[in-house]
């Protein structure tokens, strides 16, 4: 999208770009007149979920795992650090990277609006947009993670980050063990979308993908 396509972000209400307004207008009219069904459109879009946006999050994470200076820059100012990577396209401002450690696991909620960094992550999963996920994630993050098959040691603190229009989060997962000496390309293959929103771990080396 081009620069003029974006409204400036306000603090407390939602924003849609001029283009998004037109797309929504068209979709509402076509739905009301019975030409299209919202669910059918969603299904088509979802079929292309891996083909939307540059998906550069995995590359960013892999670089942070191999380049300590980049990692430090990423944690200090993620938008700026990502902007320094020539092969990665522009991301919006106010991107914040939060690091998982053995003591703390991060998980991000909120994606009902434009705050989801789809440039980095591709489309959000369908369940992520459901309101039960959001409210439960805040009240019972450990339970939500268990539903995703993610179990963490009791002593690991779980921190839930609620995106705002100003800030979009990228979880920097822990580098899997057994990947010493791996190249960035190899490492990037292990980084899943869910690991970058904190509802999963990176793939384990040698495990079937």
């Amino acid at each position: 999208m081009s620069e003029h396509d974006h409204h400036h972000h306000d603090h407390d209400h939602s924003e849609l770009s001029e283009t998004e307004l037109r797309v929504r207008a068209l979709e509402s009219i076509l739905t009301e007149k019975g030409y299209v069904e919202a669910a059918a459109l969603d299904a088509i879009v979802q079929a292309y979920e891996t083909k939307i946006g540059p998906h550069n999050g995995a590359r960013v994470v892999a670089k942070a795992w191999t380049d300590p200076a980049f990692k430090q820059a990423l944690l200090e100012d993620a938008s700026k650090a990502v902007g320094t990577l020539g092969h990665v396209s522009r991301v919006g401002d106010h991107l914040v990277a939060i690091e998982n450690t053995t003591g703390r696991h991060n998980m991000v909620v909120c994606t009902l609006c434009s705050c989801y960094p789809w440039e980095m992550l591709g489309l959000p999963p369908v369940w992520y947009k459901a309101s039960p996920y959001r409210s439960r994630a805040v009240k019972d993050p450990r339970g939500v993670l268990a539903d995703f098959g993610v179990s963490l040691p009791k002593e690991t603190e779980i921190r839930v980050w609620d995106s705002t229009a100003e800030t979009r989060f990228l979880v920097l997962p822990m580098r899997p063990a057994g990947t010493e000496g791996w190249s960035e390309d190899q490492l990037a293959e292990l980084v899943t979308r869910d690991s970058m929103i904190g509802t999963g771990f990176p793939k384990t080396p040698g495990a079937p993908s």
């Binding site: 797309v23 929504r24 009219i29 007149k33 083909k51």
Partner: protein, 125 residues
Amino acid sequence: MDSGAAARATSAVSSIPRDQDGPVFRAPWEAQAFAMALTLHDRGVFTWPEWAAALADQIKRAQAAGDPDTGETYYQHWLATLEHLVAAKGVTTHETLHRYRDAWDHAADRTPHGQPIELVPGDFR
């Protein structure tokens, strides 16, 4: 989805940006615009040759008006073509499109951040 439908679209409209698997999109709204064209085609609102001609016409006019034609604006032209064709085919009017666009703008304005943006009758004013 019916992947055959998308394949027929990409073969009939040769300009659609793609990789070895099929269409690629720069943003979610582009995929939504693609999906709407696919659906309207299935409903018989236009044929692919008709669509391709309207899109080419749209791109030609944009280039005459100074569009850089770098590929970044491809789906802008796609969206403009959708708007043009639904009006030309009597599905809706440009006036209605504007009215809904403004209503969505009002809906976004009154929706607190993080809530789903939904259109209600009061947004039409």
